[in-house]
């Protein structure tokens, strides 16, 4: 019976996970005319792509750190509020809106005739080019990832036994010491999940970078898009994809929890 129940999931895994990844790996060893080759890998390890990789990591790192710095205090505050579920809902609602819509909204806000510049103008400041910069890219990415970071952190903070916090005060710890010595270490699992859920997609953001950052930000995501849609070099695109998967596996391993490793 159990095996029968597992069949649809197995099928799903084969069709939507195993086959596509196999195809991708296969394509990554093909050149543009379909001959088997290691050329793509050699090219990836050349300076151009390595620079792009570093760039991707750097932006993903910045996005993750800033998202974390905003989300942790936010999750902490929400966990102390009376109507936590309501406030959490407020944070979550934006995730129901299509990411493309949100991005266009930001274009409206940050554009040269957008809200921010209008305000600047009214108070006598000069208009500045906000869009098509790495500032805009990071701002929008952070905005998009905040709910995904807040949720796991909130859950782990909310799950901490209240008596542990009392015990910390009881033993003489101040609020700050309680935060750093008890609450933070005990919410680390949530922080790790939040980092995974932010860092990994942030590595391969391409639509955002196209729409908000123009050509200022070149990441692995934009490289894949470029290879598939413009150069039509599926082999090279797949190779970048393979490396992206490897990086993700690496990040997952680096942030995995103790219990999983046992």
């Amino acid at each position: 019976m159990k095996r029968v129940l597992a069949i649809p999931y197995l099928l799903w895994m084969v069709v939507f996970v195993i086959l596509p990844i196999s195809f991708m790996i296969y394509y990554s060893f093909n050149d543009m005319s379909g001959n088997l080759t290691l050329q793509n890998y050699a090219e990836f390890l050349s300076s151009n792509y390595l620079k792009m990789t570093l760039n991707s990591f750097w932006y993903a790192f910045l996005i993750t750190v800033i998202t974390l710095l905003i989300s942790y205090p936010l999750a902490l505050v929400i966990s102390r509020l009376k109507h936590k579920t309501f406030w959490l809902l407020i944070i979550i609602i934006p995730t129901w809106i299509n990411i493309l819509l949100k991005t266009y909204a930001f274009i409206g806000i940050l554009g040269i005739n957008g809200v921010v510049n209008t305000i600047f103008e009214t108070i006598g400041l000069t208009q500045i080019q906000l869009l098509f910069s790495d500032f805009a890219f990071i701002t929008v990415a952070v905005y998009i990832f905040i709910p995904f970071m807040v949720l796991p952190i909130f859950n782990s903070i909310n799950g901490i036994n209240k008596n542990l916090i009392s015990a910390s005060y009881d033993l003489g710890a101040s609020k700050w010491e309680t935060l750093t010595r008890v609450i933070f270490p005990l919410s680390l699992e949530g922080v790790k999940s939040g980092i995974q859920i932010t860092f990994i997609p942030a590595l391969s953001l391409f639509m955002l970078s196209r729409l908000v950052a123009g050509n200022k930000v070149v990441t692995l995501g934009t490289a894949i898009e470029q290879q598939f849609l413009i150069n039509e070099n599926w082999g090279m695109g797949s190779t970048v994809g393979v490396f992206l998967i490897l990086f993700m596996v690496f990040v997952m391993l680096a942030t995995r929890t103790k219990k999983e490793s046992v």
Binding site: N161, N163, L164, S166, A167, S168, Y169, D170, L171, G172, A173, S174, E177, R181, V182, P185, L186
Partner: protein
């Protein structure tokens, strides 16, 4: 040095009146137990002393110092929580070290004090262990070690033994009592277990719905309960309606008995309590009341025998004497073992009354 004084403490949570005018002084170095059913406010009282709850009104003093606005982390009080509240991300040693690290105690002194606390609680071999790998009794001891290593003036214990199985609980009771005597600091222990309260305490506070009903030594409370509530809560009891005839004489079911209580107006309706273990079975006709044995339960240390008297009232007896169901016997109790309670009497009136005829009757 550190006497704890509660003055007219009231506590409301929303509309619920949890503590009603609590007025009590804990003197230093004694083992106190706050005893009461769940919801009587005993844990709230403990939290007020610990600094986790701010009383709605009334004052809390440690010695001469008013403590109302002093936060928990600035009080010389440590708590052993009901669920122990050990930090799961730290091992035994680090848990015990927590308070000392916060207080920036030097490494050498810290090591010394932790070693001592672990030795005190028989945990020396466990110091590197993870909290999760410990048994209930070991966790309990870590919680105690973590508290006493800070050398508090007052140790609060919140239902700290209730999660343990019976044998371990009895063992921990001995250890706690011994610990308190060695440390010489004030222990305030909260429990709903009357046996525990009797075994451990220098003084018991019996609470009911936000009031301290009666406070006194275990023996006082057991032998001279203020009212039916205390008598029932501490131990088992036979309580019968009576009427005071004069000092030293009470009538029960129309029969006059000699007793050792007085100070009550003639004709006052009273309740007479006799503990089940104070009743002696005698052959029919030789005791106070002729009864028929209704049921017998073997309890291990004693038999619990239910008898019905001629008026149909039930008496419970704890005895090692054997009997049989349906047998006609009689029951007898010494006048010293009859305790007269006046319904509605306040603790102060009760104590005055006891003092008024002490040594006279």
């Amino acid at each position: 040095m550190t006497e704890i004084r509660l003055q007219n403490i009231h506590q409301y949570f929303d509309d619920a009146h949890i503590l009603k005018n609590i007025d009590f002084t804990f003197s230093e170095g004694k083992f106190y137990t706050i005893l009461g059913p769940s919801g009587c406010g005993k844990t709230t009282l403990l939290k007020i002393i610990g600094g986790f709850v701010n009383p709605t009104s009334g004052d809390l003093y440690f010695g001469d110092k008013k403590m109302n606005d002093i936060p928990a982390n600035k009080r010389q009080v440590n708590t052993v929580f009901q669920d122990y509240a050990l930090f799961p991300h730290l091992n035994v040693y680090e848990n015990v070290a927590f308070g000392l690290k916060i207080k920036k105690v030097s490494k050498s002194e810290r090591d010394e004090r932790i070693k001592e606390a672990l030795r005190f609680t028989n945990l020396t071999d466990f110091k590197e262990r993870d909290i999760e790998s410990l048994s209930g009794g070991q966790k309990q001891r870590v919680a105690i070690a973590r508290a006493i290593v800070n050398e508090p003036d007052i140790l609060l214990l919140d239902e700290s033994l209730s999660a343990l199985d019976h044998n371990l609980r009895v063992e921990m009771q001995y250890e706690l009592k011994e610990l308190q005597q060695k440390l010489g600091i004030t222990f305030i222990f909260v429990t709903h277990d009357q046996e525990e309260a009797l075994a451990l305490s220098d003084e018991i506070l019996v609470m009911d719905r936000g009031h301290i009903v009666q406070a006194g030594s275990p023996k006082d409370i057991y032998d001279e309960p203020l009212n039916r509530y205390v008598a029932d809560f501490i131990g088992e009891s036979n309580i019968v309606e009576g009427e005071m005839l004069e000092d030293g004489k009470v009538s029960i079911y129309g029969r006059a008995y000699e007793c050792v209580d007085g100070g009550v107006k003639r004709g006052t309706p009273v309740e007479v309590m006799v503990r089940p273990e104070d009743i002696i079975l005698k052959p029919a006709g030789e005791g106070h009341l002729n009864v028929t044995v209704d049921s017998i339960l073997f309890r291990g240390v004693h038999y619990e025998i239910c008898v019905l008297d001629e008026d149909g009232y039930e008496w419970v007896i704890h005895t090692t004497q054997r009997s049989e169901e349906g047998k006609k016997v009689s029951i007898y109790f010494d006048k010293e073992n009859m305790h007269i309670m006046v319904p509605g009497e306040k603790e102060e009136e009760f104590n005055e009354r006891l003092e008024s005829y002490e040594g006279i009757l």
